[in-house]
Symmetry: C2
Subunit: 330 residues, 2 copies
DNA sequence: ACAATTTTTGCAAAGGTTTGCAAAATCTTC
DNA sequence: GAAGATTTTGCAAACCTTTGCAAAAATTGT
């Protein structure tokens, strides 16, 4: 059925080794024969069997990516960037969704490990030890999660927060709420840290609410709580929550941004589609996905040589000022 | 490095064949030895190498899924459903994004074909011939696309449209606009067909605009055009466009739904988060993804036996009435 | 034209698994 | 307890590649 290297060899009247070399080490075969082989392969529509190749080379040409929730628009974007970059390097990608379950996450990584050269784990909630273990059985790259000894690409959320706070301070806000995200999420810790630091510097008081689930519904709920705290602005852990806040404030006839400023985080597509359009911190998701595969590929090429600390790549974030922030009503 | 079936055999003091059988045909090995093998495997943390297995069985235990645009929230949802279902059957999934390019789509399918047992192609824009060809070199299942000889799961968009039109007619609308999507998309044809049929029955006149790209920005643009046509309601090809319309109407101070009703299609998460909340037709995306892998697995199990026409599964749609539709201003 | 190089090619083993076949072990029956 | 039937096991070939090694062919220098 499927056509193999032998068929090509037969048609081109050469040995299979020659065919193999024509593909993988072209400089070792005489140009004329290479031409011959390539034509034969083309006529037959031959594609090398990567599994068989992997068996002997130990490299599969695949990589895996596991995300906690594909339904959160943040991740498809990361995946999309990763997939595009992987393709450029002629890698195929396995995708798995862990449904925010750390145990499933761990299981998925393990299940993949034989079929891939390495895996990218996004916003992992696994504990440090498991992560460490996993990184010993396969090449791992973390995205938006830091773990000693494991390379990672990180988005500079703290700096994004700084920008957001400076923006609010410049507008004249002196007291604002932070709607905290999942407690054990690295992103949440970072955002919180950035917020704390910046607010001290800018002299704005922050009241922290939560933790909340990083979803729309939590925003609805959080809006009322924030309203009760007498702040003039609210910064949400992510855009989904911010959208919830916007929605609830609208229901309660609180004008945004006149009576309350709202800032989100992530810049999901939706942030530019709602009314008022949401001021938010853009996370370079596709770029992050690309960076993660770059890092992974580096790691694979660099060999096992543990040259000191694990690599780390940090990509910048950018405040996008839209219509949901304004000076507080005097 | 990696631990193989031989290691397990060694530890359990049996031959590799026995180990192999303990996993794949348990009833052929004596319970006691099976137990022995399983324990040894467990202690060693053995995982069979699927590539090697695939080499000999001809089955990879993987399947592929290609989508035109991961950034469109419709597809992550489908993928998520498919991935979950695949996992249940112990299949891993390859994901590829064709960036709405039919040629890339075709290329991706080909590239995958050696690594998977079958592939699910979502909302394909490939032409019928290429699709047919592709389906000869691997088991194919289409989602939201119909092609002779290729099994497919279809979402009943036409019926969704019927529900939408009946809803508008019941509210008293007599003239409405349809913002058409990509011309060569099966979904668009179906929606259009359903709209036509229902509008004739309900006695509502429809003016068709477009085609437009199925994105937010196109909705902005389309809103003005619709406004110029003196209709009381607009039905968009999908939610992204509908959101654009909502946005633009808001800018132009046209009250929705009082001065204009808007209905979308897909029921993406965003539809419930905007103001006013969008009346739309729910597409059973996750269910569709699941159905697609079921169908694919059936197809694989059913063998090559072409028992007549290609299978087809159609899943229903449901109008979700929210706040963007109301009786027209008299 | 020949020897000495160098380049190009082929042979065969290897990689981890499954499976047909035959041998060994166990069970039945008398 | 032995013959026969049946279950359980092991051997070795096969799947499709890549690659070390050695043989063959081409090239070079004289």
């Amino acid at each position: 059925m499927a056509i193999t290297i032998h068929d090509v060899a037969g048609r081109a009247q050469v040995s299979v080794s020659t065919v193999s070399r024509a593909f993988t080490m072209p400089e070792l075969v005489r140009p004329a024969t290479r031409e011959l082989v390539l034509r034969a392969a083309d006529e037959l529509g031959y594609r090398p069997n990567r599994a068989a190749r992997g068996l002997i080379t130990g490299k599969t040409g695949n990589l895996g990516i596991v995300v906690p929730d594909l339904q959160n628009p943040f991740f498809p974007s990361v995946v999309s960037g990763a997939q595009a970059q992987a393709r450029q390097a002629d890698y195929a990608v396995f995708l798995a969704d862990s449904a925010e379950d750390p145990r499933l996450e761990s299981e998925l990584i393990h299940a993949m490990t034989k079929q891939v050269d390495g895996v990218i784990v996004c916003s992992s909630r696994m504990d440090a030890k498991d992560l460490r273990t996993a990184s010993e059985s396969t090449t791992l790259v973390l995205l938006n999660r830091k773990n000693p000894g494991v390379p990672a690409v990180l988005m500079n959320s703290a700096d994004g927060m700084r920008q957001a706070v400076e923006h609010l301070a410049a507008l004249g806000h002196r007291r604002c709420a932070f709607l905290s995200g999942p407690r054990n999420s690295w992103s949440n810790k970072e955002r919180r840290r950035g917020l704390r630091a910046a607010s001290r510097l800018c002299g704005v008081e922050v009241v922290e609410l939560g933790p909340f689930a990083p979803v729309f519904e939590a925003g609805l709920q959080a809006a009322d709580i924030a309203l009760a705290t007498n702040v003039t602005a609210v910064v949400a852990f992510n855009d989904l929550m911010a959208l919830g806040v916007l929605n609830r404030l609208n229901d309660r006839k609180i004008a945004v941004p006149d009576e309350m400023s709202v800032v989100g985080f992530d810049d999901i597509a939706m942030a530019g589609m709602c009314t008022p359009q949401l001021t938010t911190v853009e996370m370079p998701t596709r770029q992050g996905g690309r960076a993660a595969v770059d890092l992974l590929l580096d790691e694979l090429a660099g060999g096992e040589g543990d040259r000191g600390a694990a690599q780390q790549r940090v990509v910048g974030t950018q405040l996008i000022v839209r219509a949901s922030t304004a000076p507080p009503r005097s």
